[in-house]
Amino acid sequence: MIWVRRAAIISLFVLFVFGFGYVEALYSIIVPLRPAIVERTALYVLVWQHLVIALVPTLAALAISAASGCLLHVYGNEELKSLAISLGSIGETFPSVAIIALSVPVLGYGNLPCMLALFIYAVLPILRNTVTGLSEVPRGITEAARGMGMDKFQMLFKVELPLAWPVMAAGLRIALIINISAATLGATVGAGGLGIPIVAGIRTYDILMVIKGTMPVLLMALFADSMFAGRSEKRA
């Protein structure tokens, strides 16, 4: 089932990205007086830019927050852990637009402020879920692992991380999906990606331009979601 869903999303995506020219031509016949759009970058280039802007910060966030979550679990005390958990919850409620706006004065216009904002946005929820997931491993299991003579790192890699992974993946899922859509906001601070046609379309009241940017974002987010859905369905 999940494979059918994924295949459907991917084929829709490919059809849209490479077939959009025809839709545009058709639309121009119905609405002849479309505003002249300066943007001439091909759609697949925008898609590629978008993927880089959304994925690189999310994966970097995964690496950094998983590593720091593990360190916190092994060496940290309860207070530090609960601090990380509440920080994570606060971070999730913080609007990404605000982070993007705030990082412009530091990094200037372009891709960087956007990627930094998405990175910050993703770090906290993944960190929180890593810490939560690791501390939710049942006591009987960690007790048995310790009693059989595993050291801290053997416990972490052989027992705790595999068991905490579903919780961590839930954090990653949220961060990834939000970042794929939030990356469109980068266009307002000069970043590339699918935000460009959306912003341009809104400025010129051109619905087709907005759709051109939105549909691939939507399909990418759905695809990312289906990747995780497969996991959790298998486990249950």
Binding site: G140, I141, A144, A145, M148, G149, D151
Partner: protein, 321 residues
């Protein structure tokens, strides 16, 4: 020489003393039951032996070497450890669960396979179980796997913390009987924590009774009978201890007192069929139920024996000797 000797062990949590000068020697190949009310320090004591808990003072010597000399993890890999929660790893199948300690010890995979096969042969599990995951096992099966996992590296010493505590009574009895059979073959040095007096009576070579972090008494189950008048011993073991003690003795193993055998049944006494695993307690229960002076115990071979109360007394005395 004692396998484990514990001397003047102290451990306190804040102002609360969990172990208050505890000393005990456990002989090689002995199944020692640690029993006492909740919070008497029995689990703490067990965890001091494999250093899951750091004791404040005193000493524990394991096979001639103080446990404080070992690196913690290496010490634990050499001691079987079994807990009430079992703590099987849900992401590993039964085989992998059993193989955990051998893999930590870097055994070659063939040796692990051989070992798992041997363990399986002495347990009540079949080879089909090896590919199952813990969530596919019943409570009793999970406990069996827990015990096998603790036995995996063939450690001379086993620490068991209420291993059958979470299983329903019927299954618990089966598990206890299986474990006892296994122990008779393997002859491990076992320290077994429980608060269940019947379990202690059934399994123990010796019972160590604890109260408030101290050793109150340590003796063979039959030996404790004589000390029931000493305050706490009687309070904890219960006045009906002598009756419970009868369940320790299987009729089959005793060899019945010969003088009362009568092949010809006289017809008046109530008949009881002899079953495998039947104990003196079952026999006494039958006698009480019969409300007569005797019952007729019939063996599968068709022989009949007339058993009176004095025969039970005689069997009991024979068993204790």
């Amino acid at each position: 020489m004692a396998m484990i000797s514990i001397e003047a062990l102290y451990k306190s949590y804040g102002k609360q003393a969990a172990l208050d000068g505890f000393s005990l020697e456990v002989e090689e190949g002995e199944l020692l039951i640690l029993i006492g009310p909740s919070g008497c320090g029995k689990s703490t004591l067990l965890k001091c032996v494999n250093r899951m808990v750091q004791y404040d003072s005193g000493s524990i010597v394991l096979a001639g070497r103080p446990v404080s000399d070992y690196k913690e993890e290496l010490l634990r890999r050499g001691i079987g450890y079994c807990i009430q929660e079992v703590g099987l790893f849900p992401h590993m199948d039964v085989y992998e669960n059993i193989a955990v300690v051998p893999r930590l010890l870097r055994w070659p995979e063939e040796r692990i396979k051989e070992r798992v096969d041997r363990l399986l042969a002495i347990s009540g599990l079949s080879a089909d179980h090896l590919k199952k995951y813990p969530r596919q096992l019943s409570g009793g099966e999970a406990q069996r796997v827990g015990v096998l996992r603790a036995l995996a590296s063939d450690p001379p010493v086993m620490l068991m913390d209420e291993p059958f505590g979470a299983v329903d009574p019927l299954n618990r009895h089966t598990l206890q009987a299986e474990f006892l059979k296994m122990q008779k073959q393997l002859k491990k040095t076992v320290v077994f924590v429980t608060h269940d007096v019947d379990e202690a009576i059934l399994l123990a070579d010796r019972i160590a009774l604890m109260e408030k972090g101290r050793l109150v008494a340590v003796d063979e189950p039959a030996g404790l009978e004589a000390r029931l008048d000493e305050g706490f011993i009687g309070d904890f073991l219960g006045r009906e201890y002598p009756l419970r003690l009868l369940s320790r003795y299987e009729i089959k193993e005793l060899g019945l007192c010969g003088q009362n055998v009568e092949n010809a049944a006289d017809g008046k006494d109530m008949r009881i069929a002899m079953e495998p695993g039947m104990t003196l307690k079952d026999l006494l229960s039958g006698l009480i139920r019969a409300q007569g002076d005797a019952v007729l115990l019939t063996t599968p071979e068709g022989a009949g024996m007339r058993i009176t109360f004095s025969d039970i007394k005689c069997l009991m005395q024979g068993a204790k000797r």
